[in-house]
């Protein structure tokens, strides 16, 4: 599903040059739950943004669902972001003056092609998604009227609205208290278990990382240790753990 070959990301030039990614390669299979950990500045967020097509790599290859992403133009990237990726941010990134339903409908506006949902069906889809994260009763609340945990759940519902193939989460519990964090993690578990959602999650928290099937540890722009298999009791049926093969 995701195949990254020899990827580099360099910020700045000359002496100020920072190699956020220093030639990494990795594969993530469909249905996998991968946690990316590492100290600040180790490049894990950079990788996450590149996987989410929010940033572009300096070098290397990035294959997503069999397509080479790094050569795409703005329009193609927009389509990939919309169709394939649901991104959950640490700081939620909700529009400040839009209610929960509107937030979730946002990515649906930008759908193109066959997957495009008719305008009339979007509110229904958005309600379903809010139901999925347990916010049926908060559809018309503004972000300021929601708790941090609720805001992040709205953000997850938004990430899921256009039915992406991968859910990316950058420190999704980083701004939350432990109870809200646990609720949010429960949603990821359920999505992974019940829908076979591919989840890639950056986290500082070892407890959060431990819930993943696999942990990738970053150090100075490189993958530090041999990939450590985590264990996931809620592994979906039919998931072929023996062959985590990319480029599906």
């Amino acid at each position: 599903m995701i195949s990254i070959q020899n990827m580099t990301k360099v910020y700045g030039t000359g002496e100020a040059e920072v190699r956020a990614l220093d030639g990494i390669s990795l594969e993530i299979a469909k249905g996998e739950w991968v946690a990316i950990t590492g100290p600040s500045g180790s490049g894990k967020s950079t990788l996450m943004h590149i996987i989410g097509c929010l940033d572009s790599p300096t070098g290397g290859e990035y294959w997503l669902n069999g397509a080479e992403v790094s050569g795409m133009d703005d329009t193609q990237l927009a389509a990939v972001r919309n169709r394939e990726i649901g991104f959950v941010f640490q700081s939620f990134n909700l529009l400040s003056r839009v209610d929960a339903l509107g937030q979730v409908m946002l990515p649906l506006q930008y759908q193109r092609g066959e997957k495009r949902l008719p305008r009339g069906d979007r509110a229904k889809r958005a309600r379903e998604m809010l139901g999925l994260v347990g916010l049926d009763d908060r559809t018309h609340h503004l972000p300021t009227e929601l708790s941090g945990g609720q805001q992040q759940r709205v953000a997850i519902a938004r990430a899921l609205a256009q039915q992406p193939s991968i859910l990316l989460a950058d420190e999704p519990t980083g701004n939350l208290d432990s109870k809200s964090g646990a609720e949010v993690m429960e949603i990821f578990h359920r999505l992974h278990r019940e829908q076979g959602m591919t989840v890639v999650m950056v986290t500082h928290d070892p407890k959060v990382a431990a819930q993943a099937q696999r942990v990738i540890h970053f150090q100075d722009g490189l993958i530090a240790e041999p990939e450590q298999q985590g264990f996931d009791q809620a592994q979906p049926k039919g998931f072929d753990q023996a062959q985590p093969k990319g480029g599906a």
């Binding site: 990134n93 400040s96 990515p107 506006q109 930008y110």
Partner: protein, 419 residues
């Protein structure tokens, strides 16, 4: 995302930020309204001034003492005591100026006119019977100044329609006695009997006959004002000459100039101590002045536009951080650059058009209000509306799209992190 979708998104965007939208629109409204109002007033002033001059007929010449300057034509006695009643009689002599159809000398000054407790400060014009026909006026009630009044220094007065209603309100002034202050003569007053009222002349004509009080010229020269020079000759403030044939205006100007130069002891071709001004000259000078006025108002309007534009720019720049993040998020959700630009373009168009429409309404409203108030005319031209709207819409569009264009080109993560 189709355009209808963009329109809905744009509408939601504007609706969600009512203060920002309102302030942006206010910038457009102020710009458009001020341009329309100011240009309309400028046009109106110009039209009413030049209209009143040309309305008096282009076959009119004014001979005035001193060199010609704006206001010099109407300046009260004393500004230049070079033009005498004898000069006027010489001009009236067909042997000297054969083409002059009517010669109407006047001696005009400003003073206080009193009836009972009513009291107006106005122009008191000493005139001969020719004055009425020279300016094409009509008598509404009573009679005008007669030859007998002039020769006998009659204590009579004819009131302009506005002066009559100011002094007498509703009732008939004929036969009533008014008092006219003698300026600079220890506060003495001359008592005059009203013998006639002029028909309303309408408009704000430059000679403003509706407010005038007309008396026999001899009365003005001797009883009210001090209309004599050191040699004891009667002075006039202006000689109004009606030319029989409009094409002869230049010829008559020359005839009068030659005559007066000779009478005043100048050599032909010298500057002289008087001026002969035709309606056309006045019009040209006044047009020059009113053009300056129009330009002046135009500059004020342009500043208003600029201020409105800066207002729009401010609002847009203040919200650029928030908007850049919004754009980053929208891009992260799958918006293309063109979707973003379309949304912001439509937002700007809605604001500009709504603001423009309100601005037009407000500008026309102000212009009509000024027009109705009687201060001056206001003429609303389509050019001023076009100018105002096109400029404001351009400013609105430019500053509406400006922050978006940059942000839409950023990578989503850069836009999301924008500070």
């Amino acid at each position: 995302m189709d355009w209808l979708e963009s329109l809905i998104t744009a509408w939601h965007g504007l609706n969600a930020n009512k203060v920002r939208s309102g302030l942006t629109m206010l910038g457009v409204i102020i710009g458009v309204a001020s341009v329309i109002a100011l240009l309309s007033i400028g046009q109106g002033v110009q039209e009413s001034i030049t209209g009143s001059i040309s309305g008096a007929g282009s076959n009119l010449l004014f001979v005035a003492p001193g060199s010609f300057q704006m206001g010099g034509v109407e300046s009260p006695s004393g500004s230049s005591a070079s033009l005498t009643y004898a000069d006027a009689q010489a001009i009236a002599d067909p042997r000297n100026v054969p083409d002059a159809a009517i010669v109407a000398p006047e001696f005009t000054g400003n003073t206080q006119v009193i009836f009972g407790s009513a009291n107006i400060n106005t122009k008191v014009t000493g005139a001969t019977p020719e004055y009425l026909t020279a300016f094409g006026m009509g008598v509404d009630r009573g009679r005008f100044i007669s030859e007998g009044d002039v020769s006998g220094r009659g204590a009579v007065a004819v009131l302009g329609s506005a002066a009559a209603s100011d002094l007498f309100g509703g009732f008939d002034p004929i036969g009533q006695k008014i008092k006219v202050s003698m300026p600079g003569a220890g506060g003495g007053r001359v008592s005059l009997t009203v013998v006639g009222v002029l028909s309303p002349q309408g408009g704000s004509r430059f000679s403003d006959p509706d407010n005038a009080v007309i008396v026999p010229i001899t009365t003005a020269q001797t009883k009210i004002f001090d209309g004599r020079n050191a040699q004891g000759e009667s002075l006039v403030t202006s000689v109004n000459v009606v030319v029989g044939n409009e094409e002869r205006v230049d010829a008559i100007t020359d005839q009068i100039t030659t005559l007066l130069l000779k009478r005043h002891g100048f050599k032909p071709g010298e500057e002289g101590d008087f001026s002969v001004v035709s309606q056309a000259d006045l019009l040209a000078t006044l047009t020059q002045v009113t053009n300056i006025l129009v330009v002046f108002l135009g500059v004020i309007a342009a500043i208003s536009l600029l201020v409105g534009g800066i207002g729009i720019m401010n609002i847009m720049l203040v919200s650029v951080t928030e908007r850049t993040r919004e754009i980053g998020l929208r891009k992260a959700m799958g918006a293309r650059k063109v979707d973003i630009l379309m949304q912001f373009l439509l937002e700007a168009i809605i604001l500009s058009l709504a603001g423009g429409a309100l601005g037009i309404a407000l500008g026309i409203g102000i212009a009509l209000l000024v027009d109705k108030s009687g201060m001056t005319n206001a003429i609303i031209t389509s050019q001023s509306i076009m100018l105002a709207v096109s400029f404001s819409v351009a400013v609105g569009l430019f500053f509406g799209i400006y922050p978006a264009n940059h942000a839409a080109g950023l990578k989503p993560i850069e836009a999301l992190r924008y500070e």
